[in-house]
């Protein structure tokens, strides 16, 4: 196996992990400077990205003949995220009506599959927004017009997120649909409203 980070070879035997996800985590933790992150991943010469979260778990170490990583600085990643965040939020908002409908009218097992697939990118979005603020030194506590501050919005989102998980544990699917439709949707829309300001401030 050949492992290469920004053109520099890494001894494959020193990298832990039974699958691609574990290998990447180990590489990030032990071989990549703390102010950088993995940007591009080439797996066996082909650009790789996960179509669903944690898809890399399914790729066994034995299937990896060559792994090339290109890192980016945390700042580059943050700017990349700010640029693409509107589309991420748009995709999340577009997927919500279907999930709500199935929770209200259909099979809760199917609804939960969709819901879990929805939760992961939502969680990542919230984490990334947090990290972007730290990396770029942005002042999230500043109020922007009548929108309030981004901190307030993120706190509210975190509250909605934890209630979603609690209601899911209680198996109250109609109430979960309510929270998705009447609380999370407007919060995501409000968050999208902050992004142009974030972009301006970051640049």
């Amino acid at each position: 196996m050949i492992i290469n980070i920004n053109g520099r070879l890494v001894e494959a035997g020193t990298v832990g992990g039974e699958n691609l996800e574990e290998m990447l985590l180990d590489l990030q933790e032990r071989f990549i400077p703390p102010d950088s992150m993995v940007g591009d991943v080439l797996l066996n010469g082909v650009l790789y990205s996960e179509d669903v979260p944690h898809a890399a778990v399914e790729i066994l170490r034995s299937e990896v003949q060559r792994l090339d990583l290109v890192t980016r600085s945390a700042e580059e990643i943050a700017l990349h995220f700010i640029k693409h965040a509107p589309r991420v939020i748009e995709a999340l908002l577009a997927s919500l009506p279907k999930i709500v409908e199935i929770f209200r009218l259909g099979d809760e097992a199917e609804a939960n599959e969709h819901f879990l697939r929805f939760l992961e990118p939502l969680h990542l979005l919230m984490n990334m927004l947090d990290k972007v603020g730290q990396v770029m030194g942005l002042r999230y506590e500043t109020s922007i017009g009548d929108r309030g501050s981004l901190n307030d919005r993120l706190d509210k989102m975190a509250d909605v997120f934890s209630r979603l998980l609690r209601v899911q544990e209680q198996s109250d699917w109609v109430y979960l649909a309510d929270i998705l439709e009447y609380e999370l949707t407007p919060e995501l829309e409000a968050l999208a409203g902050f992004l142009p300001h974030l972009k301006e401030t970051a640049h």
């Binding site: 409908e101 209200r104 009218l105 209680q170 198996s171 109250d172 699917w173 109609v174 109430y175 309510d178």
Partner: protein
Amino acid sequence: MPSAYSLLERNLEALAGKDLSLAGMIRLADPPAKALVVPSQKGLPTLIVNGVSLHSRFDPEAEAQAWLDSEEVQAAMNQGLKPVVFGLGLGYHVLALTNFFKEVVVIELEAAFIRLAFSHLDFSAAMSNLEFLTRPEPGIDWSRTLLMPHAPSVRLKRDVFNSWVSLIKSGRRTGRETAAQLKADLRNLPGLGSVLSGFEPGSTLGLPDLALAIRKRQGPLSEGEIYVLLMQELA
């Protein structure tokens, strides 16, 4: 806003005009255990049973309107089928249906829940469109009907719902079996054991015999008994 009592009386009066016996049963029913009616965000009452919402806690009327767009409802509208709704809840979805269907059958096994719904929503204007079933009744033609599950109600009583599904779809049993065989075949259905205990295990019996034994009983029916009566009706 009319009081719960006056709404109940108005609804019972409307029902008594077509089903006096059921109206009487509902009037005498005790409140259902672990059922809580609370105001929704919009102010309309919503229902929570065993800690789980049966209607939206925000806007139960909007939710009912959205239900009209479901596949089953649209299929019934397009094919001219009579909707058979499993589960009343407080009745928002049922009332929404009555705006589009002249006849709606509502399967709600517990008179207590009908009383609860009657105490909170006004069914009087729609009562002529509604037929409530608390047990299988003879003479129902299931051929031009479409079973519409109210998902939260189904989740509460999935076994009962599954029984109704199989019965309404086909479920014709003919011939005679021993009481022991029937007990084995129908072992998943609660309540049937006690009916069959009235027969010798080796005695052969058919549906009519079982149905007769059940009809002679007093009191609310178990799921197994309902199953037998439905099967007898379909046979």
